[in-house]
């Protein structure tokens, strides 16, 4: 959501500086209107996902929210990131989530015990995180106007790949190692209780 806010902030900021020839805030283009509408839809879906009492519905609203963010990326011309968002989050993470829900319990209808006493704390954390993000983004961009239509291409695979593997290659590698470590850790944890039925016999002594 911070992206939407940043756009609104950018638009507000540019309204003040229309004299310098940048596009105005009072005559938004179709893309900007669409961006705001999709942003509202995403926000609505996200709020519904955390407030609904129906477990599986929450997961499905999450699909809408994540898909909405993908559309926002697309509108910002970050095509590659948008498809990765769909592939990883909608295609894999939510499917995994639904799989977990169905495997454990996924009652149809409301679950009265789906609420948690931590509601106020969660709200506080969410509001704080949102405030920090919005502050940072607004402070970083202020009155910058990025021309997506006519400027140099910013979100294509080519540009993303170059930036990722030239400027950001060290963080990229560090993250890969972190993920690999998490993966190995997950395998070790899941094999620990498995020693007696033969498949994990190799490290059976560790139990």
């Amino acid at each position: 959501m911070s992206a939407t806010v940043s756009l609104a902030a950018t638009a507000t900021a540019t309204a003040a500086s229309t004299a310098s020839g940048t596009p105005g805030f009072l005559s938004p283009t179709g893309v900007e209107i669409l961006f705001l509408l999709v942003g509202l839809l995403t926000l609505g879906a996200a709020i519904t996902a955390v407030t609904t009492r129906q477990l599986v519905h929450a997961a499905l609203w999450l699909v809408v929210a994540l898909g909405g963010i993908a559309v926002e990326y697309l509108l910002l011309s970050a095509e590659f990131i948008a498809w990765v968002q769909v592939l990883i989050y909608v295609g894999a993470v939510v499917v995994l989530l639904l799989f977990g829900l169905m495997l454990t319990r996924a009652p149809i209808g409301r679950s009265p015990d789906a609420d948690s006493g931590n509601r106020p704390v969660a709200l506080a954390v969410a509001v704080t995180a949102a405030a920090v993000l919005v502050t940072v983004v607004v402070d970083a961009f202020r009155t910058t106007w990025i021309d997506l239509e006519n400027g140099a291409p910013q979100g294509t695979t080519d540009v993303t790949g170059r930036i990722l593997f030239q400027h950001w290659v060290l963080p990229f590698e560090a993250l890969s190692v972190l993920l690999l470590a998490a993966l190995v850790g997950a395998i070790v944890l899941s094999r620990r209780g498995d020693g007696r039925n033969g498949t994990g016999a190799a490290d059976g002594g560790e139990r």
Partner: protein
């Protein structure tokens, strides 16, 4: 690109989407009938009972659309649309012929196609959960497990082609294609096709809809038009998978007289692959659920990784 051009392209894609899956469905009926020596209905319409397809359509439309009493109505009714629409979107990105004969050239085409195809499985999951039926839920679970296992080899195999071509765009891959890519990428092609079959839940990977174990999996409770839509999803999936394999591994429109007859080559290669899909259904028994998982993780993933290594080595050597 003006509005008329876009409209014309979208119309062509929609037309292909409405016609090709039905053709594949009808071909499946007839090919299976003759391979098994059980010819089935042969009278409607005269030649080989072709009009039976129309009759089936009318039958599906007339049937009552039943929603089980305990089902989650909205999710249950939405599921067929969620399953079908992604395939329609994917078809837009598949190049049919040379010189821009594609619905819409997408920069990260492979990613778009595989990402959107993965979304379609949500339809099966929604249907399986919302039916309030244990068989449906089991089918949904198996669908999810199968998708998670086979998405990885599918992506890895596609990544190998992207590495070879140096681009993620589907028309771009075809531009860069050389004939010797076919033997070079043959392992990747087999992995991609097999993993794709599993993602479509086609035999021999049809454990999620195994009729002798769990009736019809996620689709057990569906009737009438919604059931027909799920069947259509399966055939649309075959079209997409075969067209994608053609584009990525078999050179798409490349062939003699490609400038004039490129689209025909794409169609021809796609239909041969579709025939193979049907053939496999008739000739292989169903894999058990654990065999299915083991096959994905211990055979397909290593093979796909080997193909990526091979692609990398050859790419470095020839540069």
């Amino acid at each position: 690109m003006d509005v008329l051009d876009v409209a014309w392209r979208l119309l062509a894609v929609l037309l292909a989407f409405l016609v090709l899956p039905l053709v594949v469905g009808q071909a499946e009926h007839k090919v299976m009938a003759h391979m098994q020596g059980r010819v089935g209905p042969m009278y409607a319409g005269g030649f080989h009972g072709w009009a039976q397809l129309v009759a089936d359509g009318v039958k599906f439309a007339q049937k009552e659309d039943v929603v089980p009493a305990d089902a989650d109505r909205r999710v249950f009714q939405l599921a067929p649309a969620v399953a079908l629409i992604p395939y329609l979107l994917v078809l837009i990105a598949i190049p049919v012929g040379p010189n821009g004969m594609v619905g819409q050239a997408i920069d990260a085409g492979i990613f778009f196609v595989l990402a959107v195809m993965g979304v379609g499985v949500l339809g099966s999951l929604m249907g399986g959960w919302a039916s309030a039926n244990k068989f449906s839920l089991l089918g949904g679970l198996r669908t999810a497990a199968q998708l998670m296992a086979y998405e990885l080899p599918l992506l890895l195999a596609a990544a190998s082609v992207a590495m070879a071509a140096g681009t993620l765009s589907l028309p771009g891959i075809l531009e860069a294609f050389e004939w010797w890519w076919v033997p070079w990428q043959i392992i990747g092609a087999l992995v991609f096709f097999t993993a794709g079959l599993a993602e479509l839940q086609r035999p021999p990977f049809d454990a999620p809809i195994a009729d002798s174990e769990i009736i019809f999996g996620a689709y057990t409770e569906y009737t009438g038009l919604r059931f027909a839509l799920f069947l259509l999803v399966e055939y649309a999936g075959i079209v997409i998978l075969c067209a994608l394999t053609t584009v990525l591994f078999l050179g798409g429109w490349h062939g003699p007289f490609a400038d004039d007859l490129g689209w025909l080559w794409t169609l021809l290669k796609t239909s041969v692959l579709a025939f193979v899909v049907i053939w496999l259904r008739v000739s292989y028994p169903r894999l058990r659920e654990d065999q299915l998982q083991r096959f994905a993780w211990t055979v397909l993933v290593p093979l796909a990784l080997f193909q990526i290594a091979l692609t990398g080595v050859v790419k470095v050597v020839i540069q």
